[in-house]
Structure formats: C-alpha cells, structure tokens
C-alpha cells in the first residue's frame, strides 16, 4: 500500500474493483471458465450468458486502453453518496469500448480534460486518481485519460 505526498495512506474507494499498481493499473473483472464471457464488476454467482450455466469465474485484468463510445460532464454537484470537493469542481465522464472484452465501461475522465477535448473514437487509458479523502486516507478510483493528450502526461492524476 502506497502513501500519498500528503502522507495519507492511499486506499481504493472500493476493494476488489481495480488493481492499485501506479504504473499500469487495471479494472478487475471476471471471465467465465465455461464460455469466456467477461464481466465488470466481477461476476459472483452465475454467468450472464443465458446459454451458459457457468458458476466459476477467473479474475481478469481488463484492457487498460479503449476507445471513447460517448462522453459528457457533470456541471452540477451530484448528490450523496458522491463525495464532492468543496467548492465543487465539475468533471467529465466517458463510456469506453474495450475491444478484447467487447464491452463498454464507464468512468470519470482525469481532471483538466473537458468535453471539448474529446471525440467519439478517441483512445483513452486507465489511471488511478483520488476520489475523496479523510484525515488518514486518500481514496482512489479509476479514471480515463486521453492517450494523445499531452497536458495529461505523467503518472496518476491529481
């Protein structure tokens, strides 16, 4: 477990949904051991494929890169349980197509990227960034970052 510059312990905002490595974080999904269907979040009980009776799933790291399916932003502060910064800072969201998994996954975009910087089909990659913090912890979540966007080069956002 790493420590943020502030000295706070960096922990996932939700256990088990993504890896915590700084260099190449990935979403943690599952693949059905019978039919190969992927799922995110990871499947627990039963395969979603109606033609499959699979009940066992291997954990998989989902593709770290994908293409923008669509995008929007949040100009007004979402209600709880979203933990917003004070004052509120609007953020951008994307839905991202993952080629190998043939699925679309959502997430926030790294701070500083607006809808004007995005187009459907743009390549984005997964990074980790702080969602909110308390006195001792910085709670991280996955974010998508445009691959070609020079202004967001570097490690984790924030």
């Amino acid at each position: 477990m790493s420590t943020a510059d502030s000295g706070k312990k960096r922990v996932p905002a939700l256990d088990g949904w993504f890896t915590m490595d700084d260099d190449a974080p990935a979403l943690l999904g599952s693949r059905c051991t019978v039919c190969g269907t992927f799922a995110f979040p990871a499947e627990q009980f039963a395969c979603r494929n109606p033609a499959c009776e699979g009940t066992e799933f291997e954990p998989v790291r989902l593709s770290r890169r994908g293409k923008v399916w669509s995008y929007t932003d949040a100009r007004y502060q979402p209600p709880p349980p979203y933990v917003a910064a004070d004052p509120y800072v609007p953020f951008t969201l994307v839905a991202v197509e993952l080629a190998a998994e043939k699925m679309v996954v959502m997430g926030q975009v790294v701070p500083g990227v607006s809808v004007d910087d995005l187009t459907v089909g743009d390549e984005v990659e997964l990074v980790l960034g702080p969602l909110y913090e308390d006195d001792d912890h910085e709670y991280l979540v996955w974010r998508w970052r445009p691959v070609a966007s020079a202004k967001n080069e570097g490690g984790a956002d924030g």
Partner: protein, 409 residues
C-alpha cells in the same frame, strides 16, 4: 389493417377494455402520494361510471421514496379508499412500474379471475437529481454509480445524446426543437405541470447540466398520480360502456436479450459480447415496442400517435427510431419536417410528454395510457390528434424494464 384483427393476432383475445382514466395534476405539491393516487382513482372510477366497491382487483405501482406505504402501494390505495376485500397486488419496475401494474391487472382479467381492476400509481418526489435510497450499499450498482463516478441519471441521457450527434449529425438546435414542440403540445393539458411556450433560443440559453443537455431539456421530478379502470370486454358490454370503446390491446414488459451492448442506468458496463453471442435481434429499446406490436397484431405504420418517455429532449429522437416511426439516423429529419408535431403525420407526445409533466415514476407509464385513451375518445381538448384510432406508449425502466402499451379503438 382489419380492425377486428387488432388484439387477437393469434386468435387469442389480448384486449381488455379501458372503462375509466383519471389523473391528479402533476406539480411539486409536497403532499402525501396517497392523496394523488386516491384522487386519480376516484376520477377514473367516475369516468368509468363505477363505484369503488365494484373493483375486484387493485394493482398498485410502487414508489420507493415514500417509506413502507410506497412499497405496498396497492394496499395503501385500497385502505385509503376503504377496505372492500378486493384482491390486491403491488409491483415495482422503476420507470416501467405503471406498465407492470397494467400488465398484472390485464392478466387477471384475461385469465378470467376478475372482471374489473383498478390500476393506480402516484409519487411524491424530492427536489433535484434523483439520488439512490439511503444507507451504504456497496453491492448495489445504483448506490455505487453515484459514489464512485458521480453518474446521475442525466449522465446516461447525455451519453446517448452525444452519441446521436456524433453518429447522425444531430444538433443542439434539434434537441431544443423537441423541447419547443412538447412545450407547445402541453399548453392546454390541464394535468401538465409546465404550461409555457419556449423558443429554441431560450432552451439553448438555459444552463448545461450534462453536456450537451441543458436544464430545459432534462425532465424534472414531479408529484402526480394516474389511474385506469380496466375490465373484460364482456363486462364492458354488460356495463353498457359508451362508444368508442377503447381497449388496451397489448402490453410489453420485455427485458433485454444478452448481450445488451448499450450502456444503461445504473450500470458501470454493458454485457460482454466476447463469447460470440452477438444478439441478432434488435437492441433492447427497439425490442420493447416490437413485442407490443406483435402482440397487438399491428405495425408502426398503423400508429396514429405515440407517447414516449422523453427523459431528455434527445432521447425522444432515439424513441422515434426505436418504435419504428423511421429508420436509424432519420429521427432528426422526421422532427425537422414537423411529422411528430400535432397536425403532422405521426404526432409524438401530444400530452406534452415528460417535458411538460416531469416524472412521477410509478404514475408515468399509467399517465401515458390515460393520454392515449383521451386521444382515442376525442377528449384531448386543445391537443387533439384528429381521428386517432391506434396509439402506442414506450418507456424503459432501469435494471432492464421494458414498457410499451398499445391502445386502440
């Protein structure tokens, strides 16, 4: 289309009579939802010429934001109207709850288990964005999407809107034009919450909530109530129901087919199509109304008007295609040509839609049917679609709830 074919495409009767329709005006009244439901129920019973004691089955559409009475809405309304011993059922299907309540009542009637059923839905809503119900629930995607992504309902509407712009060249002006049309339609509707004309410029000048959608393009949350009195065709004849007799000819409550490849509230991801199981049928939204058309034995070419769930202005354009009024990517042309305005070829949301009502979740799918009933009876003063004989509603509730009702006379 032969009229006598509607509602019995396979020789099996699918129709039930609509004897009464009633609503409590939509607004932000801040009173107990039961009051709206009772008012709508009494309206519908008066409209039907029946007494509450004549109702044999009560089908309630639940509200999840009003405590225990909301979870057992059918019994709540029955108790408020006065216990009569009527059988009761309550159901929840998110925005599709009203259609599920209609489906339940219709099934009782078609099975011969009762002659007269009352369907009621009503809601009292908080201000602002819909938030998940309280508590920390880390296994509930509806709670998690707010917590981890700050993804509100308009987030999802906006993803669809932006994709329409990218794929089909939809413009901000197109989306604003939908709002202008619906605002005009709802002007004379006594049940609508917002009755005020707007211009394209006014819509475009309203603040962006979720790019590209603006405040005036996203439906509000409202208080309201709606009710229907349904009966068997035999009972309607015995009761001497007036002409024209309006019937519910089909109710679709279909779920998606795997793999559902469109991102939907409240999910983080779509199904994966990696196992090769690419759905060969239509996507989920098109499948909803298709199932209703098949059950009624009609096609979209037979439809005279439609009430669709315009949670956003842009989403109404998706529905044009999904209910078969035009091909994919052709909705903007249909709108620009005026075909979906009253007086056009196929008016959509003559009631004013959610744009003028705001959403009262469990009442909304019932309200769509109420409007169709009044349209088909020629009682929709100030917004009448002349000579309408066939109407369709379309709606989708989160967690995979389809909702479409075909109403005919």
């Amino acid at each position: 289309m032969a009229d006598d074919m509607i509602g019995s495409p396979n020789g099996r009767e699918t129709r039930v009579a609509v004897l009464g329709a009633g609503m409590h005006p939509w607004g932000k009244w801040g009173r107990n939802f039961v009051e709206y439901g009772v008012a709508a129920a009494r309206d519908a019973l008066r409209d039907a010429g029946l007494r509450w004691e004549d109702v044999q089955f009560v089908s309630g559409a639940d509200t999840i934001r009003n405590g225990y009475p909301g979870f057992i809405a059918g019994a709540t309304f029955a108790q408020a109207l006065g216990w009569t011993g009527a059988r009761v059922s309550s159901c929840y299907a998110a925005c599709a709850s009203g259609a599920s309540a209609i489906a339940g009542a219709r099934a009782q009637i078609l099975a011969g288990l009762c002659d007269v059923a009352l369907v009621v839905g009503a809601d009292t809503t908080p201000k602002g964005f819909f938030a998940p119900v309280g508590g920390e629930r880390k296994d509930d995607p509806d709670w998690l999407r707010f917590h981890l992504m700050g993804a509100t309902n308009p987030t999802y509407f906006a993803l669809y809107a932006r994709r329409r712009m990218d794929r089909f060249g939809a413009t901000d002006e197109d989306f604003a034009t939908v709002k202008v049309k619906n605002a005009r339609h709802g002007l004379a509707n006594p049940y609508a919450r917002y009755r005020k004309e707007v211009t394209v410029d006014e819509v475009l000048a309203s603040p962006i909530v979720a790019d590209p959608l603006r405040l005036l393009e996203i439906c509000a949350t409202s208080d309201g109530g709606a009710a229907l009195v349904l009966s068997s065709l035999d009972f309607a004849r015995r009761h001497g129901a007036g002409e024209p007799l309006v019937t519910v000819s089909a109710v679709s409550t279909v779920t998606p087919r795997f793999p559902n490849t469109v991102i939907e509230m409240p999910n983080f991801s779509t199904d994966s199509a990696a196992a090769g199981g690419v759905a060969d049928g239509p996507g989920f939204r098109p499948s909803i109304t298709r199932a209703a058309y098949e059950e009624a034995g009609i096609g979209p070419e037979d439809v005279d008007l439609a009430e669709v769930y315009d949670l956003s202005s842009a989403l109404e354009l998706d529905w044009y295609e999904d209910i078969g009024l035009c091909g994919e990517g052709e909705a903007e042309k249909l709108l620009r040509d005026g075909a979906t305005s009253i007086g056009g070829r196929i008016p959509v949301n003559p009631s004013g839609g959610l744009s003028c009502f705001g959403e009262a979740i469990p009442a909304q799918a019932i309200a769509q049917v109420c409007e169709c009933v009044w349209q088909l009876r020629g009682q929709a003063a100030g917004r009448q679609v002349d000579g309408a004989r066939v109407a369709v509603t379309a709606n989708q509730g989160l967690f995979g709830h389809g909702s479409s009702v075909v109403v005919t006379r």
